[in-house]
């Protein structure tokens, strides 16, 4: 553990609300300890701004332990910053050097309008889940969990996909602002479980339709999403989703499962 402190220059996107135009503003972050997390560094900058009577930089965060998926900013052109499989809140200043200049931008996508500064609105993700990202199983008396064994391999693969935290970094990283990694993670999570089978093909069609309606782009297999994803969600899921979609399209019959069903 080192005790050196660093001086950094930040170029931060400031935008009052969705309607106003925004611009980059430069701030100094002095005396930054390498043991600070990235957000703690911003806390210190913000305390300084408040002391001067200026409005602090707004950024989304909550758990600060890499699991809630709230934190979101593009650091020097990379969502969640330079470290692999690390959310912004888990990124520590030891990943930077004294004198570095750091550019901070919000997630950029039509589907994620800027709320303020580095905060964006990701409710499009919720709406995608709402049309099919679930298993219909009302609370009641379901059968005993062990009456339906699940192979460890499938349980593990499903868990891999389920570890998505809905942060949206995949969208932010994708040159097409595509949400395919996020959507396919949910399709895989549920589609790999026996409980998810009955709605499997309806789910994939409904979720993709909603994804399109939210104005996300399409995947052209750039693979940026996979490297930006803090939870290591794989592009393999996109292939699985495509496969299910093709199958669903070849055999389609029903309208929808989710709300608004015809």
């Amino acid at each position: 553990m080192s005790h050196k402190s660093m001086n950094l220059t930040l170029h931060v996107w400031r935008q009052k609300n969705a309607k106003c135009d925004g611009k980059f503003v430069e701030y100094k972050a002095d005396g930054v300890s390498p043991d600070m997390s990235f957000l703690e560094m911003l806390d210190v900058v913000n305390e300084g701004l408040i002391a001067k009577g200026e409005e602090p930089v707004e950024f989304d965060h909550d758990c600060r332990e890499g699991i809630c998926g709230t934190c979101s900013m593009v650091i020097n052109g990379r969502p969640h910053g330079p470290k692999e499989r690390t959310t912004t809140c888990q990124l520590h200043m030891r990943s930077f050097k004294d004198g570095d200049s750091i550019t901070l931008e919000p997630w950029r996508a039509e589907a994620f309008p800027v709320v303020r500064d580095l905060v964006v609105d990701r409710s499009a993700f919720d709406r995608i889940i709402a049309v099919g990202g679930f298993i219909t199983a009302p609370a009641g008396s379901p059968q005993d969990s062990n009456s339906l064994p699940i192979s460890k391999e499938n349980a593990d693969l499903s868990m891999d996909a389920a570890s998505c935290i809905g942060c949206g970094a995949c969208v932010a990283a994708c040159p097409n602002a595509s949400a395919m990694l996020f959507v396919s993670a949910k399709i895989s999570h549920l589609g790999l479980l026996p409980q998810g089978q009955p709605e499997r093909y309806l789910r994939v069609r409904d979720m993709i339709a909603q994804m399109d309606a939210e104005a996300f782009g399409t995947c052209t297999n750039h693979g940026e999403c996979e490297t930006a994803c803090p939870k290591g969600i794989k592009m393999e899921n996109i292939a699985r989703m495509n496969r299910d979609f093709i199958k669903a399209s070849l055999t389609f019959r029903h309208a929808t499962i989710g709300g608004g069903g015809a």
Binding site: K16, I67, P142, G259
Partner: protein, 639 residues
């Protein structure tokens, strides 16, 4: 104040079934005429809102995050208990009940705990049906692990992300209802006040955190599932936004507060590194399954590299003091033991506030792969934060504030002392007594949400006329809304010199120092002097920049800190009045010769229930006596 827990009669095994049968039902056609407000979208709130909507009610659900999926339940790593007895190791509903009552140091209500144990199995089944990918064995059946305070293996888990998976399960069920139009979700809406009409809870006032709009929402019943208030301590394992505002506002409207001083300090957290620290990170308790806790026997060794310290010079103090539970001793006990060795000057790390959690034995025994499979993501997280590799050098851990057993007092129906106001999950005081066992909070949140609320809220609604709610311009509504607006304006108009965070940090220091792992009369009295002073200073000197009409995190923080500054005082008062040690509440004056907690069942076998009496008045302490018919009062021993 009249306290009636409404515990159904009959043998404990039949209470819940009987109660459900005796409850009134609402005719399906009438259900959609009722509107329910659910504040919170964590395990309790998310599962509750989804289940109530599934029954046919209209639900308005609120959370302060940008999506319901981000409630802090998501952070739970370790697991969730259930009395499935899949291991054939002697588990049963009764044993889970027994362990929980004992683990809570006999300060919980037996009937509630029994119900919790009873529905625990349903929770697992429900979650699996919702698509929760619990860990499985090669045979395809569910895997289990053991957790602190239990000698059976009853904890179900999904890697180190159990809370996340359970929450996503509930969230998906919730989103399904949103899609169907039965739940209306209000993201980024913070509840700032409870609306009471003629002494009954009828709605809430919220602030839209994006536009600043302050709005009233009216309903037939209000449920608070807003989580714990551990952030009173500033540093805790809670998320930055976790707050006590909802419960505190309800308290000030007449909902009694149960056992506010009962907080849980979790033994395995990553130690503090400096003043910049904004929160503490938990390392799941499950790590104690395979990790061994130790400190050097000699003070001189503390600064040495751990690998250089010989086996004989290490003090595996948990194994030494509690041979039958060893490293799996319950949280309160392990935390205190860590504090003791650090107080003796044998703590490790730069601050001296840390103990080792060592995996070298387990790695030798099981191989690195097995350990990686079990704890890989936790190890990764540790390395990310500390820059040390726990496969090679022992982790350093220290206790940190984690959970609040206290909360709004509720009866068996989870209804508070305000009619129509229900409280679920960590926000209520109900099931864990003075100490919560690991993996039991997730269980409680889902029990409340999936199974208890649907029955008890229906019973309450059946007594109301369908479709009759106060109008939006009802004087009580307008008055409450105006009060909120005035308070927000007040915060913005002070324009003092110190940020809300400054006051939060100061409060945290007081709380940790005097109302933390060990408490004593002098300290608590000191805190009771310091907190009002700090509060006064806050209202004179806080600086909230910006305006109400846009996203303004300083404003949000200021409102929360204002409430913490009051809640902290009540906690200290409660801690002062409870002249005994029990569970997480350790009063230095009351301990056995070897430093164990000394309960006083004669005078304190009760829940302390605090009633608000108005600004500037002392709150009144009521009691709900506890009787133990099935688990006999005994000194809790893990030796």
């Amino acid at each position: 104040m009249e306290l009636n827990a409404h515990i159904p009669d009959g043998p404990i095994q039949q209470k819940w079934e009987k109660h459900k049968f005796d409850s009134k039902l609402v005719n399906p056609a009438n259900k959609r005429k009722y509107r329910i407000i659910m504040v919170g979208s964590g395990l309790a709130g998310g599962a509750g809102a989804a289940s109530l909507a599934e029954l046919g009610y209209n639900v308005d659900c609120f959370c302060y995050q940008d999506s319901p999926r981000r409630a802090h339940s998501i952070a739970a790593q370790g697991g969730i208990n259930a009395a499935k007895n899949y291991r054939n190791d002697g588990d049963s509903v009764f044993r889970l009940f027994y362990d929980t009552v004992k683990g809570g140091d006999f300060r919980a209500r037996e009937a509630n705990v029994y119900r919790l144990a009873e529905v625990s199995n349903n929770i697992i089944d429900q979650s699996v049906a919702n698509g929760v990918p619990f860990a499985r064995e090669y045979g395809g059946l569910l895997d289990n692990r053991s957790f602190g305070g239990a000698q059976v293996s009853r904890t179900f888990y999904a890697r180190g992300q159990t809370g996340q998976q359970l929450l996503i399960g509930a969230y998906q069920a919730l989103e399904r209802q949103v899609g169907l139009g039965t739940v209306k979700m209000y993201n980024r809406h913070e509840m700032l006040e409870l609306i009471m009409v003629d002494g009954i809870a009828k709605g809430i006032v919220t602030r839209d955190m994006v536009t600043g709009a302050i709005e009233s929402h009216i309903a037939d019943a209000v449920i608070l599932s807003t989580g714990g208030y551990g952030n009173v301590f500033y540093l805790s394992t809670n998320a930055m936004g976790c707050n006590g505002t909802a419960v505190w506002r309800a308290y000030k409207k007449g909902a009694a507060f149960g056992n506010p001083c009962f907080t849980q300090i979790h033994p395995t957290c990553i130690p503090v590194t400096g003043d910049h620290q904004s929160k503490l990170t938990l390392m799941s308790e499950s790590l104690r399954n395979d990790g061994r806790v130790w400190v050097p026997k000699k003070k001189e060794d503390c600064k040495r590299v751990p690998s250089e310290i010989k086996e004989d010079d290490r003090d595996y103090y948990l194994e030494r003091k509690y041979p039958s539970f060893g490293n799996l001793a319950p949280r309160d006990i392990s935390s205190r033991a860590a504090k003791q060795v650090c107080d003796e000057g044998r703590g490790v790390g730069e601050t001296g506030l840390g103990v080792y959690l060592d995996f070298s034995d387990a790695i030798r025994r099981l191989g690195k792969n097995k350990i990686e499979e079990k704890y890989g993501n936790l190890f990764e997280m540790y390395e990310r934060i500390t820059d040390e590799n726990p496969y090679e050098t022992p982790m350093r851990i220290y206790p940190a504030v984690h959970y609040t057993m206290g909360g709004l007092w509720v009866d068996y129906n989870l209804m508070s002392t305000i009619p129509g106001l229900f409280v679920a999950g960590e926000a209520n005081f109900s099931d864990h007594g003075a100490n919560r066992l690991g993996a039991s909070a997730l269980m409680q949140g889902l029990a409340d949400g999936y199974f208890v609320l649907p029955a008890t809220v229906s019973n309450y609604l059946a007594g109301l006329k369908p479709g009759v709610r106060p109008a939006a311009d009802h004087p009580a509504v307008v008055e409450t809304e105006t009060a909120v607006k005035t308070r927000v304006e007040k915060l913005l108009s002070i324009k003092g010199s110190k940020s809300p965070t400054h006051f939060h940090r100061e409060l945290g220091k007081i709380m940790w120092e005097y109302c933390g792992m060990a408490r004593n009369e002098a300290g608590l009295k000191k805190a009771l002097e310091l907190i009002p002073k700090l509060r006064e200073e806050f209202w004179k000197d806080v600086r909230v920049v910006g305006e109400n009409e846009s996203l303004n995190q300083s404003l949000e923080m200021a409102a929360r800190v204002a409430d913490f500054l009051e809640l902290g005082e009540l906690m200290c008062l409660d801690a002062l009045e409870r002249r005994e040690s029990c569970g997480g509440h350790f009063r230095e004056e009351f301990q056995t010769e070897d430093g164990e907690a000394l309960r006083d069942d004669e005078n304190f076998c009760h829940t302390a229930v605090w009633e608000y009496k108005g600004e500037g008045q002392n709150p009144v302490r009521h009691i709900e006596s506890l009787t133990f018919e099935y688990v006999h009062l005994a000194t809790r021993s893990y030796k």
